[in-house]
Amino acid sequence: METTRKLIRKQSLEKLYKLLSETRKIYAPVVSADKQVEYKYNPAFSDVTFEHIRSTLSVKNVVFPKVENLFTYTNSKTESTINDIDLNKIPEVVLWGAHPCDNAAFDTLRSIFCWDITDEFFAKRLEKLVVIGLSCHLSDDYCFCTSTGLAPDSSKGSDILLSRLQNGDFHAAILTEKGNSIVNIAGELFETVSGEKELFTEVKKKFSHEEVTEKLKTAFENPFWVDNSLRCIGCGACAYVCPTCACFDIQDETKGKNGKRYRSWDSCGFGLFTLHTSGHNPREVQSQRWRQRIMHKFSYMPERNESLGCVGCGRCSSGCPVDMNISEQLEALQNI
């Protein structure tokens, strides 16, 4: 679809938000009492923030929830009955005000979840999702989208991308049919574009991801991994805040005769992740797990999924308790 550009005034945004919330759930960022930015379902418009650099958790929860029930079951003495989850009950959701890095990550997740077999839970959630993105007018030292082929105004993954104007109004780029369907609901709120300047932040390019991918081909045995991961404590914070990390664990939970099978986020940073039943662990120390994290995103994924496994949001670094700064490490890797 050819992109069209419209003007949406500050006061019209609230009308649009209310209109959309009549028929859909809205997933939007708010600032919590402890100053963290978190996405919530259906917050009051007055609580929605337009000033955040990054939320603590990414928005992947909307298509890949931290816990997803896969089916329920009932056991009798002789048999088990499996009850599928009704995917049609997955609601229509508008993701509101998410930044370009987060929205680009939906493509990355799709390259994993719909690689050969389509993951029906993920695919249905994505199908029911409309993304109204918000380009970035703020950034900090942790941001490195420009090093991963993106930019503060990238439209990848958005159905509509809002860009703030000097006077507080927004330009809206209508990018997809889904985006167009939103415009059709509230046509009068979308006006002709003005000559007002769009505000974008500048994000310094720190490394070339193509060069990093090339370097990684011969870096497997490099002492770099041990030297740079001694301080890693092996928690899953980086993976869980990451918009593109897609690993999950599957568990059954039974209570009496009834139970459910669900999946929940997992992380390659955990020792248990690769522990074999025999007791052997191919990644028995943290440096091997840290290497896996970088290799997966910057070498294996470009090779196998034709997509980079990182969008440069910087959450893994800002959320890390021991300052494992990924862009610093990738910059260093490029130069080894």
Binding site: G236, E253, G271
Partner: protein
Amino acid sequence: MTNLIARAKELLTSNSVQVVIGYEAGPTGLARPAFITTAEKAEKLIYDERCIQNLAVYLTKKEVRKLGKAAIVATLPVMRSIMMLISEQQVIAENIVVLGISSEGSLLDIADIRVMQGFIEKSDLGNPSEYKELLAELNKLSPEEKFAYWQKELSKCIKCYACRQACPMCYCTRCTVEVNQPQWIPVQANTHGSMDWHILRAMHLAGRCISCGECGRACPVGIPCHLLTMHLADQVYSYFKVHAGTSDKMSSVMSTYEPNDKESFII
């Protein structure tokens, strides 16, 4: 700081230790752990108010141990952690050089474990003052209000286990949450599963938590989980008059039986 760097250089040059575990400044200005293996690199060492992470967590880490004998920059919580690790036989006292740091930030002369014990005993061993007020406020709540508070906080948990990994006392190579036959703790990070986890973690640290607050600082979603263990540290002191990490011969309060223990809760 110059004293610290000089002492680190001396230890490395004389090969008395093979690694100095301390702090360096990262590119964003945060202090972070550094593992100094040569005298030249010792110049990177810093010590200031940014240096709050409990470094004792690295003493049981496989790849750090592989580097050889370690010297460690140790404020009071780190010293108490070391004491706990020695008493639980995870660390051998003779294998560590303690570069003690006083509350004013100057280098202490900690020649051996007895000197360290002497320093610990002279220090204020209660919960840090910045948490006391919040703990007192929480204690004023009714059980229902407390439950509601923790339900709200723990519903944020994503089960990344940063709290566990950041804690020097959580050194088990296989944590209870990783045992799945039987599955003691639900794997999923829903409110129930997360409450189970945090309550279990707190109970395992009762009498062992040295109140460094590292678990709460490590939490990426800002759950004040350190208040659980700190509350138990208060409880342990009020019942047993014991502060964790004060002796290398401490028996574990929660898993030791003494003939004169009060057992009024049984009868």
